[in-house]
Amino acid sequence: MAINVKLDRILLERGMSLTELSEKVGVTIANLSILKTGKAKAIRFSTLEAICRELDCQPGDILSFDE
């Protein structure tokens, strides 16, 4: 897939676990794992907004496009 999810790196930088993020954004760990492993086919704006708010970052910090 050309869209890369860099959730791993951001979580590491913020020192936050996936479980913590899951509790804060109200998305299940299973769904966050799907996102983290790049298996997700789509992401809702509401989810992206919640993640960005909790991790204090921009959507571009989480998602990137590779040729």
């Binding site: 998305v27 769904n31 966050l32 799907i34 996102l35 997700a40 789509a42 992401i43 809702r44 989810t47």
Partner: protein, 177 residues
């Protein structure tokens, strides 16, 4: 239990009954077809070589054709009811949009078309075999095309595509975070 599940459960029971009846009919008609297929030509051969054996039957090839057509219909019912039983089960479970269900509707469409074509092909086949064995074809057992079944096959094909698209959307939905 929701009304949708109740309906699916009711349909499942009906389909199970149809499946069992069709299965029994398929076995009986299958045996009858095989027996008649061999009995008619054997009688013809015996007649030709002037062996007078009273086989206590008076079959002609058209009788075999009628029984064989009924057998093909029974096979079609067995496959279709079996597939629909599984589809209604998935509806009951709340997961109807699966690629397997799309494949099942594809199978239904193919079986219906093949069954209709087989019912057409059995007529000239039997006439040729009857001619070779020197037995009369008899009245009845004509070629007939059931256009309603072809229409049903077409609907099943459309449903197959609908379920395939539904399964794709379901997959996308499941992988949306």
């Amino acid at each position: 239990m929701t009304s949708k599940n109740r309906l699916a459960g009711f349909m499942s029971v009906i389909l199970r009954i149809i499946y069992i009846i069709s299965l029994v009919a398929m076995v009986i008609l299958g045996i009858a077809s095989v027996v008649m297929f061999f009995a008619v030509p054997v009688e013809g051969i015996l007649d030709r070589i002037n062996v007078d054996v009273d086989l206590h039957h008076d079959f002609v090839m058209s009788d075999f054709v009628d029984v064989a057509k009924a057998f093909i219909t029974a096979v079609m019912f067995v496959v279709v009811s079996r597939c629909l039983m599984v589809v209604t089960q998935t509806i009951s479970d709340g997961t109807p949009f699966e690629y397997d269900n799309a494949d099942r509707f594809g199978i239904i469409a193919r079986v219906v078309v093949y069954a209709e074509l087989a019912k057409v092909a059995i007529v000239p086949f039997s006439a040729i075999v009857g001619g070779l064995m020197g037995v009369e074809y008899g009245e009845g057992g004509e070629i007939s095309l059931n256009l309603t079944n072809f229409l049903g096959a077409g609907i099943a094909l459309v449903l197959a595509e609908v379920f395939r698209e539904g399964a794709r959307l379901q997959e996308e939905q499941d992988l949306t975070v």
